[in-house]
């Protein structure tokens, strides 16, 4: 059970970039790495004082998945840490809408299969130096199928990005898959929330009622949670213009330090078009 090393080399503008994926040997040295990752940018044009979208593009072998920021019942959130050169700053990572995976034991996880882009804007200085140096990234993930493999990579992207790393269409698709942020007008439902954790109780039930002008064909809910709150069960039922979502909550951590709210994504699907809306739910009963 020794660790194995999956090596790869990417050539970007004449610079050899070693891409190392450390993994446990469970899949055997004969298996190809289930996940490959590279850094890409939206544009080669660096506008002084502007920002350029940069992200880690994951290619995931069939049957495998990696994890969303809340991995669900098991798993590990994928991590992308961008380190831009001096004078530039990277924003918070933007996560596209996840998918739900349910395994044989009934355990639920949230993540991505086939391919995903985890990206953010990098703010540029004014003026942009002629040779600003590379954007570096430390990326790590857990990939699971029947078994799980940890992977990590240290990546570099030269600035301005070389043509092979400029993928405007990929970023366009990524933007279409980002949820509408909290507080933005335009959610197609009215929300009512009932229940929650009562004082002293470690578990509770929350019921969401969503009233639609035009109900979508499918509604999903993805809870975030964090280290103070765990969502054990989500049950969604739509009848006519009303959707009822029941959520079982479980308080985690020190008894005196309870979460007061739960960020969730409400995701609708219509004819293969998925849209997501960020919502923050109150979880203290009566609040």
């Amino acid at each position: 059970m020794s660790a194995c090393l999956v090596g790869g080399v990417g050539r970007v503008r004449g610079v050899l970039l070693p891409v190392l994926a450390l993994c446990a040997a469970t899949a055997g040295a004969a298996d190809p790495a289930p996940v490959t990752v590279r850094l890409i940018a939206d544009t080669a044009h660096l506008e002084a004082g502007g920002s350029v979208d940069v992200g880690a593009l994951f290619t995931i072998a069939p049957g495998w998945h990696i994890y969303w920021k809340n991995p669900g019942d098991s798993g590990l959130a994928t991590s992308v840490r961008l380190a831009p050169p001096e004078g530039m700053s990277a924003g918070a990572l933007q996560w596209p809408l996840p998918e739900r995976f349910s395994d044989a034991g009934g355990l639920v996880s949230y993540g991505y299969e086939h391919s995903t882009l985890l990206a953010t804007g990098v703010r540029l200085p004014s003026p942009v130096p002629a040779h600003p140096g590379p954007i570096r990234a430390e990326v790590s993930w857990l990939a699971c199928k029947e078994r799980c493999i940890l992977g990590e990579a240290r990546l570099e992207l030269e600035l301005p990005p070389p043509p092979a790393a400029v993928r405007a269409a990929t970023f366009e698709r990524w933007r279409e898959r980002l949820p509408l942020p909290l507080g933005t007008a335009g959610a197609p439902f009215e929300l009512n929330v009932i229940g929650g954790l009562t004082a002293g109780a470690s578990a509770g039930e929350l019921t969401l009622w969503l009233r639609w002008a035009t109900p979508p064909s499918q509604v999903e809910l993805f809870p975030e949670g964090g280290d103070r709150l765990k969502v054990d069960r989500v049950h969604v039922q739509t009848r006519g213009g009303l959707t009822r979502i029941d959520v079982t909550l479980h308080a985690l951590g020190p008894a005196g330090d309870r979460a007061r709210s739960l960020p969730v994504l409400v995701v609708t699907s219509d004819a293969a078009v998925r849209k997501g809306y960020e919502v923050r739910l109150p979880v203290v009963a009566g609040s």
């Binding site: 019942d73 098991s74 044989a104 034991g105 470690s202």
Partner: protein, 197 residues
């Protein structure tokens, strides 16, 4: 954990009162579901017959999180440290495709002291709601579950061991001092338990 329903344990038999379509699992404050399982050498172990404080550790030798903690000696060192205070460490393997032989090899290869109990049909795992490997439970001397969740606060293993908070060690210290466990539940991390289909 999913504490929608109660587990009733009688005379070594686990009986669950099940509401349709709902998960059934014991959680903190509940009586620990009793079980009788066979270890890697064929010895039977019944939870209720093991005196004192007991730690249950869900394992899967194929899981990279288990492999890392085994390399680092996390569980082995804790088990040895608290054995001197009368704590019994029981490792449970609910991985459906494994067997006593694989557990024996894993245990001997890594010189583990705790028995590995085979739960390959996953019944005990489901009774506790074990979700990940590792997933930890502490059962107090009176048979109540007083902690469940992660082994520590560092899922990625990015911090040196000395800088991590080991939830199980902290909870054991509190239990052995007769105190209430201040952090009775944390989010377990790791691979999903590979239950039988």
């Amino acid at each position: 954990m999913r504490r929608m329903n109660r587990i009733v344990a009688t005379a070594g038999m686990v009986m669950a009162i099940v509401a349709p379509g709902m998960g059934v699992a014991a959680g903190v404050g509940d009586k620990a579901p009793d079980f009788t399982l066979t270890d890697q050498d064929g010895n039977t172990v019944t939870l209720s017959e093991v005196p004192g404080v007991r730690v249950l550790e869900w394992t899967n030798p194929d899981c990279p999180f288990v492999q890392r903690h085994t390399r680092e000696g996390t569980m082995k060192e804790l088990a040895a440290r608290y054995a001197t205070e009368g704590v019994t460490w029981l490792t449970i393997n609910s991985t459906h495709y494994m067997n006593r032989e694989t557990d024996r090899e894993w245990r001997s290869e890594h010189h583990l002291m705790a028995p590995i109990l085979g739960d390959f049909d996953g019944k005990v795992g489901h009774a506790y709601g074990a979700e990940t490997t590792p997933h930890m439970f502490i059962v107090a001397a009176d048979g109540t579950i007083v902690y469940e969740g992660a082994i520590d606060d560092d899922p990625r293993g990015a911090e040196p061991a000395a800088q991590r908070t080991n939830y199980v060690a902290r909870a054991l210290d509190e239990v052995l001092d007769g105190k209430t466990v201040t952090t009775p539940e944390t989010r377990p991390y790791g691979c999903s338990v590979k239950y039988e289909k």
